[in-house]
């Protein structure tokens, strides 16, 4: 059976954060299971914090950017293998 994956992209330019607050544990790590609609990362743009959510449940197989890294609109952030 072949596996199917999808990538979460950011709808806006900003700064990528793995955790919901500094010092808190990352929302996701590689290998972790996420449910559909679960918050997977935070994008800060112009002092507004936007939570990005998983479209479908699955397993995180890759995090494509570093914490606090600037990201461009539509940039791919996280790859998830669908259940």
């Amino acid at each position: 059976m072949s596996t199917e994956t999808y990538k979460i992209t950011t709808p806006l330019m900003g700064t990528f954060y793995k955790a919901s607050a500094p010092g808190e544990k990352p929302l996701i790590e590689v290998g972790q299971r996420v449910e559909a609609a679960e918050v997977v990362c935070i994008i800060e743009s112009m002092k507004i914090f936007t939570e990005l959510r998983a479209d479908q449940g699955g397993t995180v197989i890759k995090i494509l950017v570093e914490d606090e890294e600037p990201v461009m609109k539509n940039q791919e952030l996280i790859e998830i293998e669908i259940d």
């Binding site: 709808p11 806006l12 330019m13 900003g14 700064t15 919901s20 607050a21 500094p22 800060e44 743009s45 112009m46 002092k47 507004i48 914090f49 936007t50 939570e51 606090e68 600037p70």
Partner: protein, 452 residues
């Protein structure tokens, strides 16, 4: 009187330019500071000198006290103007200025500390007999405590960041579940914006008007107020349109609010420019909200109807001058309105819209003032606030101010990023708005949803 010959401006964007302009008119030299992201910004070009204070993230640049103080000393500045936001209401920054023989243009560090601790400030101000909104008297220590207080004062309740203002870290909760979630989100925003995650909680007054009083106080105990500003047109607790005077405030209420604001200022030994914010309900009963110990974004509407240059007054007061006018000298002439133009997309739930500005045409003509740092081909960065300019108009009365704003908005052309001018045009055509029939929930009818 202290001599102020050179001022470092510890800010960016339109307010940095505003301060530079005030200084130039007073023949005071200026030093700009800028992050890597702002190297092409106008405040860098307009200042006499400019110092790079490194990386874009606010906490490494415009919130970096050591770098800013070092820049001021290296350039032999006598004083620092903090603008609004960033370090403007930071007690440690004000202290660091005095320790380094730099005049901080604003209230004393003690005063910033007093009003900055919003729960303590509420106690002091309530003791003066000023009505306040019921809520937590202290910073909330746990979700359980917040739930108990909310039960006492009744839902809905509002969470506010203890360390800040400007809508950051503010959330409304209508029930226990919403409150628990709101605490976590608001606390995160507060920490990121102000470096302090502390929150307090109060009862949420439905459909109030936001009315604030601008005061000036010198170091000789002289106080004047410059009338009110109405800032009821808000989105996500961020002001979007401000005006002065308010169509809701009559002479009696203006005098009462003005006297109350000065009473508050005098009781805490407040000096320099400051704003006392009130919520006013439909019965014209008012509740004290908070003191903003800084110049505010919306200060131009007050300048337009009083003729007082608030930034220049701040500098004169900081230099130890006595106010040159008394309350009786202050006349409110005509009507002024301000639209905050933000880089945000009204059609995408006001999602931030950073990017490169193209084909820019700016409004002008009679009664129009535009405070902005943008220019054609300017790159609006995602690192800072979305405010790209303030469009201010003056008219002899409110209908004339509205017509001028409609015209000025229609002249404002911009491509490359999304901005809020079209949304402002819609508000300025709204029948209830034109009648002055507004409150802090006014924008809800435009189907503006919560952030996210």
């Amino acid at each position: 009187m202290k001599s102020i010959k050179k001022i470092l401006i510890a800010n960016r964007g339109e307010i940095a330019l505003r301060i530079i302009r005030a200084c130039q008119e007073m023949a005071i030299e200026t030093v700009a500071v800028y992050s890597d992201a702002d190297k092409d910004s106008l405040h860098v070009k307009y200042a006499d000198e400019a110092v790079n204070i490194s990386p874009p993230l606010s906490r490494k640049s415009y919130l970096n006290i050591d770098n800013i103080i070092k820049a001021a000393k290296d350039k032999n500045a006598d004083a620092i103007h903090p603008g609004y936001g960033f370090l403007s209401e930071n007690e440690s920054f004000s202290k660091a200025c005095s320790e380094n023989a730099l005049t901080f243009i604003g209230p004393s560090a003690e005063c910033i500390a007093t009003v900055g601790n919003k729960s303590a400030a509420r106690k002091i101000i309530s003791a003066l007999g000023v009505p306040i909104i019921p809520g937590s008297n202290n910073v909330i220590s746990s979700p359980e405590e917040a739930i108990n207080i909310a039960k006492d004062v009744g839902y809905p309740v509002i969470l506010k960041a203890s360390g800040g203002g400007g809508g950051r870290g503010m959330r409304i909760a209508h029930n226990k579940e919403e409150l628990v979630e709101a605490i976590s989100v608001a606390s995160g925003e507060a920490r990121a914006a102000f470096g302090n995650p502390d929150l307090y909680l109060e009862k949420y007054i439905e459909k109030p008007r936001h009315i604030e009083i601008q005061i000036l106080g010198d170091s000789f105990g002289n106080y004047v107020h410059l009338g009110e500003r109405e800032c009821s047109i808000q989105m996500r607790y961020q002001k979007l349109i401000e005006e002065s005077p308010s169509s809701f405030v009559d002479e009696a209420l203006r005098n009462k609010l003005g006297e109350t604001a000065i009473l508050i200022a005098r009781s805490i030994g407040y000096t320099n420019a400051g704003t006392m914010e009130f919520l006013v309900d439909s019965n014209k009963d008012f509740y004290f909200m908070e003191v903003n110990a800084r110049v505010q974004v919306e200060h131009p509407v007050t300048e337009m109807i009083t003729g007082v240059d608030i930034i220049q007054q701040q500098i004169l007061i900081a230099a130890g001058s006595e106010l040159e006018f008394k309350q009786n000298d202050i006349r409110l002439n005509g009507w002024s309105m301000e639209c905050r133009i933000n880089a945000a997309d009204p059609e995408e739930n006001f999602m931030p819209s950073p990017g490169k500005i193209e084909n820019l045409v700016l409004p002008g003509g009679p009664g129009v003032r535009l405070d902005t740092h943008i220019y054609n081909n300017y790159e609006v960065s995602p690192f800072y606030d979305s405010l790209i300019g303030k469009l201010i108009v003056w008219g002899k009365d409110r209908p004339m101010a509205i017509k001028r704003m409609q015209r000025a908005l229609s002249e404002f052309k911009i491509q490359g990023i999304k901005v809020t001018t079209g949304f402002h045009e819609m508000v300025f055509k709204d029948a209830a708005f034109i009648k002055g029939n507004i409150n802090t929930h006014f924008l809800e009818k435009f189907n503006v949803t919560e952030a996210g």
